[in-house]
Symmetry: D4
Subunit: 219 residues, 8 copies
Amino acid sequence: MLLQKKDKLVMIGDSITDCGRKKPEGEGRTDALGNGYVSLVNSFLQSFYPERGIRVVNMGISGNTVRDLNARWQTDVIDQKPDWLSIMIGINDVWRQYDLPQVVEKHVYIEEYEQTLRDLVERTKPSLKGLILMTPFYIEPNASDLMRAAMDQYGQVVRKVAADHQAVFVDTQQAFAPVLEHIYPATLAWDRVHPNMTGHMTLAKAFLNAIGFSWNGDK
Amino acid sequence: MLLQKKDKLVMIGDSITDCGRKKPEGEGRTDALGNGYVSLVNSFLQSFYPERGIRVVNMGISGNTVRDLNARWQTDVIDQKPDWLSIMIGINDVWRQYDLPQVVEKHVYIEEYEQTLRDLVERTKPSLKGLILMTPFYIEPNASDLMRAAMDQYGQVVRKVAADHQAVFVDTQQAFAPVLEHIYPATLAWDRVHPNMTGHMTLAKAFLNAIGFSWNGDK
Amino acid sequence: MLLQKKDKLVMIGDSITDCGRKKPEGEGRTDALGNGYVSLVNSFLQSFYPERGIRVVNMGISGNTVRDLNARWQTDVIDQKPDWLSIMIGINDVWRQYDLPQVVEKHVYIEEYEQTLRDLVERTKPSLKGLILMTPFYIEPNASDLMRAAMDQYGQVVRKVAADHQAVFVDTQQAFAPVLEHIYPATLAWDRVHPNMTGHMTLAKAFLNAIGFSWNGDK
Amino acid sequence: MLLQKKDKLVMIGDSITDCGRKKPEGEGRTDALGNGYVSLVNSFLQSFYPERGIRVVNMGISGNTVRDLNARWQTDVIDQKPDWLSIMIGINDVWRQYDLPQVVEKHVYIEEYEQTLRDLVERTKPSLKGLILMTPFYIEPNASDLMRAAMDQYGQVVRKVAADHQAVFVDTQQAFAPVLEHIYPATLAWDRVHPNMTGHMTLAKAFLNAIGFSWNGDK
Amino acid sequence: MLLQKKDKLVMIGDSITDCGRKKPEGEGRTDALGNGYVSLVNSFLQSFYPERGIRVVNMGISGNTVRDLNARWQTDVIDQKPDWLSIMIGINDVWRQYDLPQVVEKHVYIEEYEQTLRDLVERTKPSLKGLILMTPFYIEPNASDLMRAAMDQYGQVVRKVAADHQAVFVDTQQAFAPVLEHIYPATLAWDRVHPNMTGHMTLAKAFLNAIGFSWNGDK
Amino acid sequence: MLLQKKDKLVMIGDSITDCGRKKPEGEGRTDALGNGYVSLVNSFLQSFYPERGIRVVNMGISGNTVRDLNARWQTDVIDQKPDWLSIMIGINDVWRQYDLPQVVEKHVYIEEYEQTLRDLVERTKPSLKGLILMTPFYIEPNASDLMRAAMDQYGQVVRKVAADHQAVFVDTQQAFAPVLEHIYPATLAWDRVHPNMTGHMTLAKAFLNAIGFSWNGDK
Amino acid sequence: MLLQKKDKLVMIGDSITDCGRKKPEGEGRTDALGNGYVSLVNSFLQSFYPERGIRVVNMGISGNTVRDLNARWQTDVIDQKPDWLSIMIGINDVWRQYDLPQVVEKHVYIEEYEQTLRDLVERTKPSLKGLILMTPFYIEPNASDLMRAAMDQYGQVVRKVAADHQAVFVDTQQAFAPVLEHIYPATLAWDRVHPNMTGHMTLAKAFLNAIGFSWNGDK
Amino acid sequence: MLLQKKDKLVMIGDSITDCGRKKPEGEGRTDALGNGYVSLVNSFLQSFYPERGIRVVNMGISGNTVRDLNARWQTDVIDQKPDWLSIMIGINDVWRQYDLPQVVEKHVYIEEYEQTLRDLVERTKPSLKGLILMTPFYIEPNASDLMRAAMDQYGQVVRKVAADHQAVFVDTQQAFAPVLEHIYPATLAWDRVHPNMTGHMTLAKAFLNAIGFSWNGDK
């Protein structure tokens, strides 16, 4: 498994990451990590690799776009001095174009999305042991749905940026595919965005596979 | 993995099982399964085995002893018609002897514990596809601690009953042992009883291993 | 317009009808009619036809299926002695099959749906001045979506029953079609079921057109 | 209909306009537009003219007089860059003279009212596609009632200002007249000021008629 | 002053009497008597005639009509064994005809009003030291207002019944007249029904004058 | 009666005056004047002298001593530009010496009390039509009670200051005397300080008598 | 010290005893014993005599008179099977005569008080190891105060009953005397009835002295 | 007893001291001192030594370490001008090393602990009549428990500092020892840190013994 003894992992993103975490910093006892995939990842790491004493900090904030991440990058990422950093952003960048089509100030189009994400990665990558880039997703199996199609394009941007910077890449949309063959999308997420526990477990599994997690601990 | 397509699993117990589940029946959307090991087990089953459509129902009630289970067995277990049943009980049976030593009416001593547990198993086993018996636990590594020592004795009862009835057996105390080598007990559970997410993940892992769960799905 | 001076209109259904109406009877001051299409229909009738003094009563209850309507038909419809009755039911009958696939007790399949709806109509039609039957709907433009396809079948049942009994028929799914050409479904209803005000206005418009409403009042 | 594709309509006023809208800006999902005539106007525009994608923003604030509008005009109107602007103000200007007769600081007499309204219109009209001026109203049919008589005079000021600046004019007092022939005033508004849904529908109808709304959409 | 040492005065009526009194019996410390004219009357009696130790009980219930008084007369009046009884009822009997015109079940027309009031008086008068009958009122100076005109007719019924049974008569509508010459009605009562403290003081003054209260105590 | 048409009366003091008034200024609708003697005085003035349109403002603040009044005199009295001013202060100046004997910083001894009160009166008297000085009080009939004896001394200071400046003087302690002959002190005020409605009526009566109030209005 | 290993002490009374204890039975963890003298007595017994494992149960109920104790004696005392019983009752029996003088139904006069107390003692004494009778009290040093004088008489009844039945006697009024020489009564209890922690410590001290408590444990 | 007439005692510490005290200063009526050992100490001093009029102020703040005390020492201790000062700190200094092992910024290791405590003592001792130093504690009888062992070391630091500065020394860990022989640790404190009333009484007893308290008052 990639993370080593006493490594610090900061996970940043939007409401999927936030999930009611403690503010201003998402670490500590009980519910400090929220109740989503971040909390699951942490409990996997503590339970399966207790000897590593890995430190997980949740810095997600509900409603954020990549533009919002940019605005708080210094305090919320760089000042945190992470060893590992995961970023999952883009859902609101796309969603605002669909749920508030008239409010154009809140739309983050794909050019701005890509440029900002690249800037953040370039600014941060050198000081990290490793970077994990997760695609945004939309829990809708119909690939010709307008918002799903748009989300896929943003996901392609993430894939490109990950490849260009040798980041660990997590295709969350792909992770949902086999589950959506058997479970109706609205069951996994009432609004096709905010997953239930099964959806968060799916995200955690994808993340853990990408960092080399083993169910029986490492040898 | 032991559970098959459309199997129904009922999980009964005390507050460790309950964890804020919906009443009177712990199933449905969002938080209906509570936020403990039951919810984790369910999200594992749905996320890793979505094609099986397994149904999980949480019937835990905070504060219960085996005496309380006995009083609600007909409605809360038999009427539920489970295919699989898990029982984790005994913590309060022991705890009341230590936190309310004067209130002897609330103590369930080991003879009553064993007899009642046997009665419940005998009453129910024939109609089940399978039964999982989980020991109670106390998140205290010092085996000579009075309450830990008592809990171990109750756990031995569970082991015996499981052996006598060919039930799947889960030694939860043992599951905590390797974690407690690295994490201080009060961190896993502020009162050494109610685990945080890491503790619940540890319970879920022990349960899943016992029923043949595979991280990559079954073949 | 079909409704005449002092006519009493009872509107029954599920959460789309309920919308926070007063219990046990949805009539009176302020928010007694809830804040959905029923309230809009009433405010249209009072504002455009104030001389008719029409009485509107909202008897919707959130989560209801046709099975639930059947259970409360005597008190909630027949005892109300309506002149006109509208029924919009079926969304939950279908939805439970998709959001709680394991909880089969809560599914109302199409045979039971049709039979129960027919029974209710037959029991009530003779004593009414008029009956309005509204289809259930799903705010999803993709007709091959599983739940949308199922909802369309239930809508066909309503159409048949309306035809068989000469009821006024309102195709709510069809009413949403032109709006969905321009507005993304999740904007009209966060879960594709519970509409915002624009969605309720669309329902009210469809209902009013069916009963001969005129923007300038009748001549 | 006067408003064209992607036009932005800002509606400003007092509590009748506000109706619990989101602050600081009354736009977005669910209840952001409040639950009064602004929300109705928006739902009419979205439901009947979905292809135009008109943007409606509610900037009403409870308790405002024209003096308060003046104080927040730059941020709340000019900075919003509306294409269309509607103003309905004056009820509190009059009401404070009747409900708090001793608190003279809060009275806005007719000379100040007219001068301030003219200033606001002159400041804003040139940058707009169109301006809609709505009279204040008092839901009291007795024209010799003291407060009603005063409100009528303020309404005449609005009529004059509208004529002088070629604004669209909405006589809300006149809109209530036919309804008040059949419905007792306290039923439309418990305090003869804050309307129920029927009263708000009456306001919405008057507004929509003034901007050329058609029940069947435009041709 | 009519009330003597240790006399018990029960005051019954609707929300004007109730004013948030303690239930089921409106007597005791602090706010047990509500915060309306009953509390004022009591504080006058205790403060100006402390030596009499008069007992005042508030039995008003919001929303009551004379029909509701009739239903609870045994427990709420007769079982209380009052020496003196005051009744002020009728506002809701009239109001429901105006604010809920379609809900005819809630209307109490003048014949039923008179007959029921007479029944209650006849049933109770013989066991009392004295009976005070207060008219209902409507804080609207325009005597041709529909609801005011109706209220005046109900007031005339009270006057007749008082005369027929030698009860003390309080014309509350008349008591408001001089105040309404100088204060706008909506200032005294936001809905022209529920008075502010000035309105309740006006009611208390009228009541006290009728029972021979003296500002300087009796001689 | 001393107060004339459109006169403004400001009443300042501690919790007995405050009684939950609106902040920062105690005037306006409903409960703006609190629910103590200030509200009673106002309702007497409005109900018995409606033609004078007197303006009453409550500026009491719970817990205040004369030291606190001094600190807020400019904004809370002088800037209010009263025609008439009433001051009732001193209870907390004394009480803190008895309920928090160790907390000497909160004690206001009699020399500071007298000097500060004189300063405030001298600063303000010239710009007033009239000044009303009310003594503090303690609802305890036993004149040798320690706190009662101290309160009497503070009351003597008020009497002297009133005499020296020709202010209207209200001896509130004296006003309670005849009531206390018949009512046990704890009944009038649970802590012998905060009166119930009967106590506040007693204060209002004393105040009104001092300013020449007549039950039948003035001639 | 009188109480021996595993003895059960039930303490019954009114609000002074109750102090927010758990219902229906005042025993268990945290605040189950309330926060008054009962909780103090228990913490003294557990902390100074931990080896005795004494069981303390709080059965006080706010507002109770001896008449109320009588009504719940079977369930709340006899069914509890205490070894030791303490009774402190009478404050409300007296207080209601002073704070609600007109509400004579709630007064418990001294004859009824004595008779009922004797009945309860006679009914219970034979089955007890020991009985502790505590006087009611009134935190008022002025012995000629009406309510204090009455309370003293009720205290004398307790003294007599204790003597007649060889009960342990606690004169709580006497216990307050030396404290009241230095602390003003309203500081010990805002209403001279409900003590602060210092007052409760004074009660606990008196109780403990009566049962032979020693600060250094027994020999 | 060491404290003399009108002495002021400030008690500072963490949550064990705080116990919900009033902020910013823990003194005044009712619950201002919190509900832990500080409140007990105060009630002992007031009840047993009422003639001394000792002033007790609680300045504990939950979660504090010695580092936090240092940061607020000027305002919270020195500006308070105490005659006597007690300090009980260190539990969180140790606990954070065990419950948040990864969050190293929150750990206060023993060198920093000792140095900071010495600094505070040296800064303050000269201006005091007396200083009381209390050890931190951990309610765990197993001396080889990791956190207990660490706490003992911090307690040794307190012992040394007390010896070096002739401070009154209170060994709280030792005070719990005889109680823990009979009561299970989790019963005294659910998390072995926050004591119940019995635990606080044990702390108060140890404190009082150290300052020469006598159950019968001093001679």
